[in-house]
């Protein structure tokens, strides 16, 4: 099975204190530590497992600037066979639809049976997978938390539904799936994997290679524009408990008792 996994380089929320920039248009991006979006790791792991079970290959693709190459390489060290970076000045400032457009062009250059994305990104809106499927006119399932290959035309996927329920679906290939965390346990990258990809050249495809008119993507093509970015003020009724761990626990228990949460 030929699988394409879309991955994104995001600020690592466990490593950074995220601050909003002076003009309130974005976060302060200087000096941030970046890593691969957590959800995407699960998608790559799932793809590697499918390949190991039924054969085929896994390609990792990312839309981003030259620094995004490091996450593509990292996911290749994890076990993906190929990597592609989609990078062009014209791509900067794309909205979700623009990103989906760029990815669609890359998908059409290959012969993929399955395209996986993470269910969402730390800094995203969870929209690219669905849009990409619609643009390709491929079937789509979101929030996938189990996956089983039936044959070379069909797969079976489990989806997480609110209320703790699950549903199972059969989907025709080719299709797009957005993968939920918990579907597997992503492997750690070992040294052998790193050494294997150390000197591999990762191809970079720009607008020209993909046959995309620059105006259709990037800032000029974006129909969704961010107009403000801020931390909301604390609302009424919210209370941050302060003190040592023991003090916080004590206060929390008092509160829960007072409000009838525990008896």
């Amino acid at each position: 099975m030929e699988i394409l996994v879309c991955v994104k380089r995001v600020p690592d929320t466990s490593e950074n204190e995220i601050e909003i920039n002076k003009d309130g248009s974005d976060i302060e991006r200087d000096d941030l530590v970046y890593s691969v979006n957590e959800w995407d790791n699960y998608a790559v792991e799932e793809a590697i497992q499918i390949r190991d079970n039924v054969g085929g290959s896994v390609t990792v693709v990312s839309v981003g600037d030259e620094d995004a190459e490091e996450v593509v390489r990292r996911e290749m060290a994890m076990g993906a066979d190929k990597g592609i970076l989609l990078s062009d000045n014209a791509f900067e400032g794309s909205d979700g639809r623009g990103i989906a457009n760029i990815l669609k062009a890359e998908v059409e250059k290959g012969k993929y049976d399955l395209v996986l994305t993470g269910a969402q990104a730390d800094d995203g809106a969870g929209q690219v997978g669905g849009m990409l499927a619609a643009m390709l006119d491929w079937p789509y399932a979101s929030l996938v938390n189990s996956l089983e290959v039936v044959d070379d035309k069909t797969i079976k996927v489990g989806r997480e539904i609110a209320g703790g329920n699950l549903e199972m679906n059969e989907i025709d290939l080719p299709c797009v799936l957005s993968i939920q965390t918990g579907i597997n346990e992503p492997r750690y990258v070992g040294i052998r994997g790193i050494r294997k990809v150390a000197s591999i050249d990762i191809p970079v495809h720009g607008a020209g290679d993909l046959g995309i008119t620059p105006e259709s993507v990037g800032e000029s093509g974006a129909k969704v524009k961010r107009i403000d970015y801020f931390t909301p003020e604390l609302g009424e009724g919210a209370e941050i408990l302060e003190g040592s761990t023991d003090e916080i626990i004590e206060k929390l228990i008092e509160l829960l008792k007072a409000k009838g949460g525990i008896k």
């Binding site: 200087d30 000096d31 060290a77 492997r187 070992g190 050494r195 150390a198």
Partner: protein
């Protein structure tokens, strides 16, 4: 966001800006270790350390190792962590590819270990000792021994130990009594009792390979009659399959002050007369083999102590930023003044900058020694190889003895910053202080390290290694002098280096004179002042790099980091180095009270 274990920026700084490890990739041997690869290795080590190993640190301390019916079990959480270390092939990073290692530069493996060991060094001793034992086999084993054992060890499938110590043979290894008798098939029957064996018995791996020091029947007394043997827990047949249990019995485990997760065993060899081993290297050359391995083992113990200090600093600085207590000193009389984070109090800042300066200096020193090891491997001329080897030899007692002493002090400062909370088990400093303490004792006590510096290293090759080291220091000082703002610091470090030269000459002469006893009573202070001056050198070197970066313009966070480098150097040179100069004067006086006092006068 609070960082754990080690400051990511500082590791990057030492690797790429101070030591410029990428230079190593110009040599064929390390060609694949370009900056991208190095960064990925260090990042993944960090990822693994923070997510999988750090959570085992407290669990390992609380649960400890258990000894029941002759079996040892390690803390439950160690099993998963060990599997991940094995799968990722982190066991033998700098070892040869041929035998399952990763052929990595030592300096890069030290950076990865900065995180892995820092996350839980009691746990990392299982793979760490395995690597060390494997190295012995690689250096001294026959092809057959390598074939049977090495790959399984470097890949972590089997683990390794080192059986030296006996009840009456601790610092004096030459007093050991474990015996070996040659059998007709070429193997040796081993019998004796060993104690204090780290990772000596456990349930992490199927087999445990013990390099054992023993005396062949009729061999000379003392260190000249010691041979090294390879004794597996389960005998390994010629075809590599496992044979019978080899009469290697754990008779008990120690209850220790710290590193509860790493088991410390008493081991009886051949209690039933059925323990066999094969000779590793040549008869009676066991101590020579030990010496060859000693530098690396001591560097790793230095790293263990150091990572406790690094972790302690990370915890302490984050705690000091969050903990509100007391008013700002300048608003003491204002009853309505709010409590401030304790990082604003001068005495807390003094402790924090002390910790910071030592942690930075020690990281640079340890990585630098690793880089020298790599240079020995890649340098083409014998002269250069010899130069780097000499510098390593001189710096090892500092990287072990001085570093672990100061690491313990740093942990202590960290505990103090936590106040009463530092003393209770709910907070992490109490464990770090306990865990760190053993690093000052094992792998040659720090007193032994000081004697090594004075007795062996100072006069090595007629003092050339010491002169080479001083030459490296001079080069850094000259580079610092080029920067206007660092001139004063450079001059003060120069004075200290000159003083060290004077002290070195004096100590060398005293050790060869009738005053030898007095000289050795000052071996330890000599190691301490040497270490202080090495710290000053490293911090000045860092400040020089940082000053250049600031001059070129740096981003906000980077600028704060570089300014921090200048302050570490300034603090150390102005606040610690003056006491070093005083200690140098005390050494030059070489007062004899310590050796002249009558034993009865000690009282008690």
């Amino acid at each position: 966001m609070a960082q754990f274990i080690a400051d990511r920026r500082d590791i990057e700084f030492v690797l790429h800006e101070q030591l410029q490890v990428e230079k190593l990739s110009k040599h064929e041997r390390f060609a694949e270790f370009n900056k991208k690869t190095v960064d990925m290795i260090v990042n993944e080590a960090r990822n693994l350390a923070v997510k999988e190993i750090l959570p085992t640190q407290l669990l390992g301390d609380q649960e400890g190792c258990k000894f029941e019916n002759g079996k040892v079990t390690v803390p439950e959480s160690f099993h998963r962590a060990y599997e991940i270390i094995k799968e990722g092939e982190w066991v033998a990073m700098p070892e040869s590819l041929e035998w399952g290692g990763q052929g990595m530069p030592m300096v890069v493996s030290l950076a990865a270990s900065d995180y892995l060991v820092g996350a839980n060094y009691a746990f990392m001793m299982y793979p760490g000792l395995t690597q060390g034992a494997g190295k012995l086999i690689e250096a001294f084993g026959t092809d057959k021994q390598k074939e049977l054992f090495l790959k399984k060890m470097f890949t972590g499938e089997w683990t390794g130990t080192m059986l030296l110590t006996e009840p009456e043979a601790g610092s004096d290894v030459g007093a050991l009594t474990t015996s070996a008798v040659k059998n007709s098939d070429g193997t040796y029957s081993i019998s004796g009792s060993k104690i204090f064996i780290s990772s000596g018995e456990h349930d992490l791996a199927e087999n445990i390979i013990h390099p054992v020091l023993a005396r062949i029947e009729g061999a000379p007394a003392g260190t000249k009659g010691i041979s090294l043997f390879l004794v597996p827990k389960i005998w390994v047949n010629d075809d590599g399959s496992l044979g019978e249990f080899n009469d290697v019995v754990c008779t008990g485990i120690e209850e220790k002050m710290g590193i509860h997760g790493n088991v410390t065993c008493s081991i009886s060899l051949g209690g039933k007369g059925e323990c066999k081993g094969t000779l590793l290297g040549e008869e009676n050359k066991g101590m020579r083999a030990m010496f060859l391995m000693m530098n690396e083992a001591r560097l790793l113990v230095g790293l263990q102590g150091f990572t406790c200090a690094s972790t302690a600093y990370m915890y302490a600085v984050n705690y000091a930023r969050q903990r509100l207590q007391g008013k700002h000193l300048l608003k003491m009389r204002d009853e309505n003044a709010p409590s401030v984070p304790i990082i604003q109090h001068p005495d807390v800042r003094r402790q924090l900058i002390t910790m910071k300066a030592y942690v930075e200096g020690m990281r640079s020193l340890i990585y630098y020694v690793g880089m020298c090891e790599d240079n020995v491997k890649v340098e083409k001329s014998a002269k250069e190889k010899e130069k780097y080897q000499g510098i390593i030899d001189v710096l090892i007692p500092i990287a072990k003895g001085y570093v672990t002493d100061k690491a313990f002090e740093v942990c202590n400062h960290g505990l103090q910053i936590y106040g009463g909370y530092g003393y209770i088990k709910e907070y992490p400093l109490e464990q770090l202080v306990r865990d760190c303490r053993i690093t000052m004792i094992y792998e040659g006590t720090n007193g032994i390290q000081a004697m090594d510096l004075l007795g062996r290293k100072l006069g090595l090759n007629k003092g050339k290694p010491v002169m080479d080291l001083l030459g490296e220091m001079q080069a850094s000082i000259a580079a610092a002098r080029e920067i206007e703002d660092l001139k004063e610091l450079a001059d003060l470090v120069q004075e200290a280096v000159n003083k060290l030269g004077e002290v070195g000459l004096h100590m060398g002469a005293s050790a060869m004179s009738p005053d030898v006893m007095k000289a050795f009573a000052f071996a330890y202070p000599f190691m301490e002042v040497t270490g202080d001056i090495v710290m000053a050198w490293m911090l000045l070197w860092r400040a020089t790099v940082a000053a250049h970066k600031l001059e070129k313009g740096a981003r906000k966070k980077d600028a704060a980091f570089y300014e921090g480098q200048l302050k570490s150097a300034e603090f150390f040179v102005h606040s610690i180095l003056p006491t070093t100069m005083g200690k140098c004067n005390a050494i030059l006086t070489t007062n004899g009270a310590a050796v002249e006092i009558m034993e009865d006068s000690f009282g008690g």
